[in-house]
């Protein structure tokens, strides 16, 4: 889309306007933590954050920093590291609106988005309190087989998809391997912003074994170089997570003050936008 997608991390973060619908992947798919750092530094506000289909540290930090108005997710989890304290605190104090979902509903609604459909039906769900609590989900009758109730989910078309990938080429093609949810996210979103470990001079479509694992440049608006850009989360196949750093975060984020001191240290500045 953008003929000159390569930019700095700060330029990428500056292009994420307050209030946008931002879609991000789960920890195993490449989380753009360096970009998240820049977003928190610039004090982004009012995000509608969609997690595909869950999030962990990234959502917890953005929520704690006051960047999120609405959270649409199947779960926020830091797994064995412990509870996502800032998420829990914000939910209990009504500081964010939560659209509780289930993993396949997030995937399906994005698939509807990529096809330009208004909605998509999905099995399961009926009788769950998720449906009872989601005013935007409707139980409809299967038009081809009356008497067969099914849930209709509105499409999700985010303003921006944001993720971290191993590398991109100078034309803006991004290698994602078999992390195909990233492709769906890019297809469904108006723009895609990517941080990468490296930028290569060769064209990724020159190698057919690589081409199948590429998000083509037509979807990609901005690419910023960010070495170790998923830290402290890992980038599977490239580097692992920094468990000590995540454990320390979870310890500190138990309290608002602890979280503030962690963020200040992370930003390397004395003050965080309140």
């Amino acid at each position: 889309m953008n003929q000159q997608p390569i930019c700095t991390l700060r330029e990428l973060a500056a292009a994420v306007a307050d209030g946008v619908k931002l879609v991000v992947p789960a920890d195993a798919c490449g989380v753009a933590m360096a970009a998240t750092h820049e977003l928190v530094r610039r004090g982004v506000r009012g995000l509608h954050l969609v997690c595909v289909p869950t999030s962990g540290l990234q959502a917890d930090i953005l929520i704690g920093a006051g960047a999120v108005a609405t959270l649409e997710t199947s779960a926020v989890t830091l797994g064995e590291f412990g509870p996502a304290h800032r998420f829990i605190d914000a939910v209990r104090n009504h500081r964010i609106r939560v659209l509780d979902s289930t993993c396949p509903a997030v995937h399906a609604a994005l698939q509807a988005g990529q096809k330009g459909l208004p909605f998509i039906p999905l099995r399961g769900l009926i009788g769950s309190d998720l449906v009872a609590r989601r005013d935007d989900w409707k139980v409809i009758d299967n038009p081809f087989q009356p008497g067969d109730p099914i849930v209709a989910l509105p499409a999700i078309n985010p303003d921006i998809a944001l993720f971290h990938a191993p590398f991109a080429d100078r034309s803006g093609n991004v290698y994602i391997g078999r992390k195909r949810e990233l492709l769906t996210m890019a297809h469904a979103s108006k723009q895609t912003f990517v941080t990468v470990e490296a930028i290569t001079d060769r064209n990724l479509f020159d190698d057919p074994t690589m081409a199948a694992g590429v998000v083509p440049a037509i979807y990609v608006s901005r690419i910023a170089l960010a070495t170790n850009g998923a830290w402290p989360i890992g980038l599977p196949g490239h580097y692992g997570s920094d468990d000590a750093a995540i454990s320390r975060y979870v310890q500190l984020a138990k309290t608002e003050d602890g979280f503030r001191s962690w963020v200040n240290e992370w930003l390397g500045e004395a003050a965080v936008p309140a």
């Binding site: 869950t54 989890t77 067969d148 196949g237």
Partner: protein, 242 residues
């Protein structure tokens, strides 16, 4: 005399037994015991059973992203899956969202994950929760992430097969909409199960002990299975065996 196996080893062996006859088992996030059990079943079946472990690289042959678990389940290509719950009630309803009233729950858990889909579509959903207390096994869940049973008009080829805890194994009768105590793990009693279960369940006059793993099974768990599960759960692999 204390048993020659750990509780985790017992649970791995029990689940491996429950998976008999499956063609493909998927193991979700944060599930080391079900993961080890699925690998054990695969070993006992001489590799005939497929195992997908989310979070593993070796045991994940997906090329269409995370949605593939759900699409496979919808196609009938997943025979068994595991779900837990912060609360589980006597009708098999599970709650992964939180206690008290929604949305500002008293205790908030991560969220429903894929439960509100897979519970309907996977034929053999094994509810697995090690903690067996009245705070987990409640008369009625505060939030239904996924219901144990559905109205007849709802498309539902799957559902709960049973509930395994650190103390016992219950089967689930979808017509009676109740659990039935099938076995109590060695070292525990029916009275203890009653004391620590918050919901009503069917209980036959004689409840056997859960079958303990024999020496050959234990050797397999401590050898091959321990090294295989270490790829996904290194810390668990280092500590779970006696």
């Amino acid at each position: 005399m204390s048993p020659a196996y750990s509780r985790a080893e017992l649970l791995v062996a029990v689940i491996a037994g429950l998976l008999e006859g499956c063609r493909h088992v998927v193991v979700g996030a944060s599930s080391p015991i079900p993961g080890a059990a699925a690998l054990l079943r695969r070993e006992l079946d001489e590799g005939a059973m497929r195992v997908t472990i989310l979070g593993s690289n070796r045991y994940n042959a997906y090329t269409n992203g995370g949605v593939e678990t759900f699409d496979l389940a919808a196609q009938g290509r997943v025979d068994a899956f595991f779900l837990g719950g912060g609360q589980i009630d006597g009708q098999g309803n599970i709650n992964l969202v939180g206690t008290g009233s929604y949305p500002a729950n008293d205790v908030r858990w991560p969220g429903s994950f894929g439960s509100a889909y897979l519970y309907y579509l996977v034929p053999k959903v094994i509810l697995f929760r090690e903690e067996h207390t009245r705070r987990v096994l409640v008369p009625k869940v505060d939030f239904i992430s996924a219901p144990g049973v559905s109205a007849p008009e709802v498309y539902r080829p799957g559902g709960p097969y049973g509930l395994l805890t650190g103390l016992a194994w219950f089967s689930f009768d979808k017509h009676r909409q109740r659990f039935r105590l099938e076995s109590v793990h060695p070292g525990h009693s029916v009275e203890e199960i009653r004391d620590r279960t918050g919901f009503e369940f069917d209980c036959p006059e004689n409840v056997p002990f859960t079958r303990a793993p024999g020496p050959e099974m234990l050797a397999l768990i401590r050898g091959r299975i321990r090294s295989e599960i270490a790829e996904t759960y290194p810390r668990f692999a280092a500590t779970f065996a006696n």
